[in-house]
Amino acid sequence: MKISKETVVEKKGYRLHILPSKKYKTISIVAKLKAPMKREGITERALLPSVLQKATQQLPNVRTLQSALENLYGTGFSSDGSKKGENHVLSFRMEVVNEVYLKNQEPILENALQIFSDVLFDPKVENGAFDESIVAREKQTLEQKIKSIKDDKMSYANMRLIDHMCKDEPYALHVHGYLEDFEQITAQTLYEYYQAMINRDLLDVYISGDVDQTEIEKLADQYFTRDSSENADDHKHSELTGSIEAKEIVEEDDVNQGKLHIGYRTNIKFGDPDYYALQVFNGIYGGFPSSKLFMNVREKHSLAYYAASRFESHKGLLLVFSGVDPKDYDQAKSIILEQMKAMESGDFTDDQVEDSKEQVINQLQETMDNANGLIEVLYHQTLSGKDIPAEELIENIRNVKKEDIIKVAEKIQLDTIYFLTSQEGGE
């Protein structure tokens, strides 16, 4: 088994994670800024990645900045915001070709890190505000993005499910922000939000590739050191108390195919003792083409092209999704619900348990072969505050027993059935 070693160093204002690996021809650098999910400031936060990536003091417009990256052998640089449990995480990802493969003597990595650092810490600012025209343009782009969510029916149905299911919880907040906030956001207020964020957010920096640890630490110190910030985390997550009353929601839209999305509460989070059994559970229930959902909804009844499930590790959700003909709603729904009953009553074989374990382990190992995949796995651990070596993760999955999976099934509660259907509703 080949598992990358991670070295974590507490630095001034950030945590540095070094992942030396000979697997890649490139070096990946990822910075993650984390804050609790909050309605206030959420639209500013959604705007920031794209505004920051447009210009720095040194490279004051998109074209000069992009040209500089192109000259560094097409260094890839992207950023986005995402929801991890009830955290709003901004990620900045850079990928640079390792100099050993280039017929070139320039310090490509160091020059790329300079740009990375400038984008984060030295953006284009005039008179205490970001560039007016950049902010105005990025507001338009974000507006467009928010409005276009409806055009991707699978994402839209998923968003609506969570809207209904987690109505009074921070988890239902939209990471891309809200149109109603746009009017009050200016180049100046956005800069104020940015200053607070860049000082206060928890910062983790990951560097992976065929690198020398001492050299990388030196470079990181030069480009990521922050003055302020305690780099501490004291956020408490909301917990749902009391019993859940399952609800069923049908909404209409102009679609050819209905989108059936079902939300369950697993009551299990990353690092919990039964988290491993949950992974194996999902493998049998809906995670793979061999799972119950695929075999029954698709192969046995020909109702769908896809029927699958996935779980959210920090919020404790299990989400089922399938695309079915509007007229087949009731049948598809009852088949999906029956599969959960079958899981509770232990209607699966020991062989299925073993197969599921192998697949979960295979998936984990494949993910860790990829630089960004490994960084995401490790960041999950950072988020949960539980540092578990990969060998132990795999060992824990291997140790799952059939009765553990049944216990997981019993813990899982149905919360919301959501169906996005055509206007005729298939009647």
């Binding site: 021809k25 074209r63 343009r137 276009s148 195919q257 083409p289 092209y305 003909d325």
Partner: protein
Amino acid sequence: MEELVYEQLNESVFREKMDNGLQVFLLSKPELAKTYGIFTTNYGSIDQTFTPIGKNEKVTVPEGIAHFLEHKLFEKEDRDVFQDFTKLGASANAFTSFTKTAYLFSATSQIEKNVETLLDFVQDPYFSKESVDKEKGIIAQEIKMYDDQPDWRAFFGTIQSLYEKHPVKVDIAGTVDSIQEITKDDLYTCYETFYHPSNMVLFVAGNFNPEEMMEQIRTNQDNKDFKEIPEIERSYPDEPKSVAKAEGSITMPVTTAKAMVGVKEDVSSLNGEELLRAELISGMILDFYFSRSGEFYDELYQADLIDDSFQFETELDRQFGFTILGGDSRKPDELAARLKEMLHSIKEKKISEEDFTRMKRKKIGQFMRALNSLEFIANQFTHYHTLGVDLFDVLPVIESLSAEDADQYVEHWIKDDRISVFQVKPQEQ
């Protein structure tokens, strides 16, 4: 077995042609946990008219059959092949494109058995009337899922504007109606013609011993009986060089309109190496003007004619080629008109040596980054191999290009009768 060594990239590929004609490539990456294997036939959605093996007359099969066949190969008389891979801790998948059908797995253990399973299931078809009928419902839902995706509709709408007769204009999965006509006999006809080992390529990349792996594949193939076949006769309609329609559109329930501009590329006279050069040069020219560092992108973005969804791509293959640019736009008519003007103006402009060097560096970097992915290496190597090109020659070819090559290329590139505009329009509220 022959070893091809690419020193600058620190890669090597083992190659062998089996007695039955199957072309095998192995790339060993012991640093990785994963192995990826892909078994490809040089047969896709455009191969609709051909002379079946053992027959004298051409037949035309229903639209969407290559993709239908891909689905059905996973089902055997007694089992579903997905389960076999599951038992081996692997994940399996398949895809059909215009010119290829490919079956693949990835795994971190039991690699030999997984390769064996891949070869055996693809080389042992079982089609029955019941299972063919059952699949129609599943594929109909797949088609309807795509029907709801505006990007897919925009892409295909553009191709349909460019091409008048060529089957590249037919949706890869066919239509809900066309797949109803497919029979088990049709599937066998296509299978026997196109799944002969001499029309196929196996590429395995990852963590294994290449000598032992090749030996295993050789034994596997030697134990199977394939009759030698003559070269496959495929037939395609005569496609004019000019576009089918200069303009087209559909109406869909989208919030934002889409405008696409397509260029019908002439690939008829290009051999493999020329195709690769054309693909690289057009990619670099488009990058220079239309990526975020480019003057055209900047103008379009500042004028609010495009947003982050703006994309461009060139696809050149046997039989057809196209370049498509576009995306969401609040002013689709204006975007389409401006894009056309811009494409025409490229001929009048020059890219400086310095800028061209920057685009070369970018291309080299993108290629190196892509080489981190086993999937990219295996899929792209196979694709280029069928066109007569070696994937790892991409690097020296990029290095050999000059601004002059770009100047020459644009001279003959954009012609008015080879451009189409296609729009996805929102419904009236």
